[in-house]
């Protein structure tokens, strides 16, 4: 397994790096009570992390919407060649 440094944080040095890390984690799993309190308190005193919290959620939402609403289609040319390929194989 590849090595990647784990994120460790202590309550007495809790800063923006830790708060943003926990916010990202919190968008996938439930944070523990103490993690929630730390993030909540940090956001109370840090305007930039309040911004980050809003922006990171927006990015997720915008990305999901783009993928969902996309009218992207496979080219007609590629479709034709795929149809040919399938016909050839199923004939055998």
């Amino acid at each position: 397994m590849e090595h990647i440094e784990e994120h460790k944080h202590k309550w007495y040095t809790f800063g923006c790096k830790d708060a943003t890390y926990l916010m990202e984690k919190g968008s996938f799993v439930h944070l523990s009570f103490s993690e929630k309190v730390q993030v909540w308190f940090h956001k109370l005193i840090c305007k930039y992390c309040r911004r980050f919290a809003i922006q990171t959620k927006k990015i997720n939402a915008f990305f999901r919407i783009s993928a969902k609403e996309s009218s992207l289609m496979l080219s007609t040319q590629k479709k034709q060649s795929l149809n040919q390929l399938i016909t050839e194989i199923t004939k055998k």
Partner: protein, 197 residues
Amino acid sequence: MNTSVNNQNTLNPAKWVELYADYLYKFAYYRVNNDELAEDLVQDTFLSALKARDTYKGEAAEKTWLVSIIKNKIIDHYKKASTKNESPLKLQTYDAPSLDYFFNKEKNGDWQNNNRPKDWGEVDSSYDSKEFYKILEGCLSELPEKWKGVFTMSLLDDADSKLVCKEFDLSSSNFWVIIHRAKLQIRACLEKNWLKL
């Protein structure tokens, strides 16, 4: 009641392109961010499906079955990418901004003065999803391949994050680290290139 109900799904390869090609292409495209690769994945999916059609038991609907095949192919792509590039998870082999670019080590990891999140204003009302995606695509292409996969797949497939970890062979703490790093970079990239702040 004596009517026999046939719940068995059947395969009809002659209709695959017409019914599913666009869907599968789109599915792949938003997870790999590359149109040629997405096309190849659709083709590989149909080929694998044809090979495996005798083993299809009709339990899942045809579409669901094809989607599960393409999803596995996407994961294989990211797995291959991670061995080919000699461990893109090792941050030192990758010259993206380090965490120190965003956070000041000396000050409890607070934001660096130049890289703090700026005010995005009323972004919801002015946003156009096509334009947004175009820029996001550029931002994603600057990430290591595996990060991109972790990011797109964990956001688009509302599956359990444990599942994504397993698929990518990551511990959950590594998964959070990657998501955090990817997000910091994407956020900063969007702020610069999309909102031009």
